[in-house]
């Protein structure tokens, strides 16, 4: 027990240190937690005979809780009413984003000679922008006060919903494995059956959710929330259904219970601890030498998906009637990828083929490291991007 506790302490020391570096440099913590995990994990520190954190079951379990809480919070912020209220704009900008970026990723995967499921995983990883990094950068740069923040955040809301549906489908495809169409069909049916029941339950169970959380005591409140979310996510996974999507739906249920703000206030730090362990765990499982195997897809993906995201975001900005100048910023603002690409990578790692188990997770880590940094830099230097795109201001006055 002493050895395990010491190792666990080591994990938190590394998280605290990398977090401090991120804070100091004004960067997002996500890529740095991942790098921290890689460096003190079995593939780097372990190989050099230094003390390392093993990629054990405990860390994996806590990381799983991190995924569940990340998606739970996403559901909490997500409201169907909000989507309905801004329906036309969010829907159109989000649809453009989806039809440009997801198929592009799938096409890259197929061009690399991967199977359809593998390519679909790649599509998801390159499609989904990082809500955490984008929102943080919007606030840091003050874009939050400008009109471009609306299509950017609106597109993120659409992506949240898209990723829920996507994860539900892909989990069945990956866990269904090589069982053929019948097995996949059955697991899809179970997934949508389970999620459908859950969706109905959260739609009509608002009263129950409200009563469960009707308690003043902070500790009781936190424990009750976890006592609802985690068992439901666990039940989903036991049935081969995405635990992340189940957590997302539970979050949606809580969002209308009138307790949303209290949950956010009291559980944000709980989520942050587990999410940090999740990012660290992703790093633990990453063998840097495998990055070499993923180098080709990585370069191709960065070169193709960056402009594609800028382009789709630009069109999204135009949907909101923004000027060309502001629309371009919408595109640039959606470039960072992060937590959800890693959630998809974690799912891929439980797959059956060598590409899923090794290449895609390594690819995702490399891709997120590049895109989180590149996206943030592009946002900070959006003036240069503008000059590059509009060739020295020949675009003329804003229209």
């Amino acid at each position: 027990m002493a050895a395990e506790l010491l190792e666990f302490g080591y994990l938190f020391v590394v998280l605290a240190l990398t977090g401090a570096v991120a804070l100091k440099l004004g960067l997002s913590v996500i890529p740095l937690y991942v790098v921290g995990g890689v460096v003190v994990g079995p593939y780097v520190a372990g190989r050099f005979g230094l003390p390392y954190v093993a990629n054990g079951e405990v860390v994996a379990l806590l990381a799983e809780v991190g995924i569940v809480l990340l998606l739970f919070f996403l559901g909490l912020e997500f409201s169907l009413d909000r989507l309905r209220a801004a329906q036309s704009n969010i829907g159109r900008a989000g649809a453009i984003d989806l039809v440009v970026n997801l198929p592009l990723g799938v096409a890259i995967g197929l061009a690399l000679g991967w199977t359809l499921v593998e390519a679909f995983l790649l599509g998801g990883i390159v499609y989904i922008s990082s809500s955490a990094i984008v929102t943080k950068t919007l606030i840091d740069l003050g874009w939050i006060a400008d009109p471009e923040s609306e299509p950017i955040l609106g597109t993120l809301v659409f992506e949240d919903l898209a990723i829920a549906v996507y994860l539900a489908v892909v989990t069945s495809l990956v866990l269904g494995g090589e069982g053929g169409l019948v097995v996949i069909g059955r697991s899809l049916a179970i997934a949508f059956g389970f999620l459908g029941v859950l969706l109905v339950a959260v739609q009509y169970g608002t009263g129950l959710f409200t009563r469960v959380l009707d308690v003043e005591n902070e500790e009781a409140f936190v424990l009750r929330t976890l006592a609802v979310v985690i068992p439901i996510a666990g039940a989903a996974l036991a049935l081969g259904v995405s635990e992340a999507v189940a957590a997302f739906f539970v979050g949606m249920g809580f969002s209308t219970s009138g307790h949303r703000e209290t949950i956010e206030r009291r559980l944000t730090s709980v989520r942050d601890v587990f999410a940090a362990i999740f990012f660290f765990w992703i790093g633990l499982g990453t063998d840097p030498t495998l990055l070499a195997a993923a180098a080709v897809p990585l370069v191709v993906a960065v070169v193709l998906t960056t402009p594609a995201k800028v382009f789709s975001g630009y069109l999204g900005g135009r949907v909101y009637d923004l000027s060309t100048h502001r629309s371009l910023r919408v595109g640039v603002g959606l470039v960072p990828r992060g937590e959800f690409s890693l959630v998809i990578a974690a799912l891929a790692a439980s797959g059956s083929t060598q590409v899923m188990r090794e290449v895609i997770p390594a690819f995702a880590v490399g891709y997120v490291l590049v895109m989180s940094a590149l996206g943030t830099v592009l946002m900070q230097r959006s003036d240069l991007v503008e000059r590059l795109v509009f060739r020295g201001g020949s675009a003329g006055p804003d229209t």
């Binding site: 929102t135 606030i139 003050g142 939050i144 006060a145 923040s149 955040l153 609106g154 956010e264 804003d398």
Partner: protein, 161 residues
């Protein structure tokens, strides 16, 4: 005045207030309670961050702005431009003032300066359109109308400086 409200999913809410000069004050209220206040010069320019306040401070400053603690109804130096060169001015009569204790007629302020006294405020009492026999006392607030220069002369004379 128009106020525009919009949702910032995952962040909070944004309010934009149109100012008289065409610029906009942008107030971002974070879900955490933090307020950030920006000013955007024109529709095309970028917002400039002015300051940020915690929830508690923002409420405190908000009540101050609202005027809950102090309503600046009268001060010794209020003046209102009525258009052209005409001013409406409030002047307090100092204790050392030469005119204190005289009637309006005796002081002959209108002839000397060119500005007319249209009301005398004395505590809660207001004497409107005072006649030549109205007595000016130290501490009175005289409401005066006249050309800018005349008002300036009037002020220096009455304040006794």
């Amino acid at each position: 005045m128009t106020v525009y409200e919009s949702d910032l999913p995952g962040v909070g809410k944004k309010h934009e207030v149109e100012l008289d000069d065409g610029s906009r004050l942008v107030i971002v209220t974070h879900n955490t309670g933090k307020r950030e206040v920006f000013r955007r010069e024109s529709a095309d320019s970028d917002s400039e961050r002015l300051f940020e306040l915690s929830d508690d401070l923002a409420r405190q400053v908000g009540t101050l702005l609202e005027g809950a603690y102090f309503q600046p109804v009268k001060t010794t130096d209020i003046e209102t431009l009525l258009g052209g060169n005409t001013l409406l001015e409030w002047v307090e009569v100092g204790t050392e003032s030469d005119v204190a204790g005289k009637t309006l007629g005796e002081s002959d302020l209108r002839q000397v300066t060119g500005a007319s006294v249209i009301a005398i405020e004395r505590g809660d009492e207001v004497i409107t359109s005072p006649g030549g026999d109205a007595v000016i006392e130290a501490g009175d607030m005289l409401v005066v109308i006249g050309p800018r220069d005349a008002c300036r002369d009037f002020v220096s004379l009455v304040k006794g400086v």
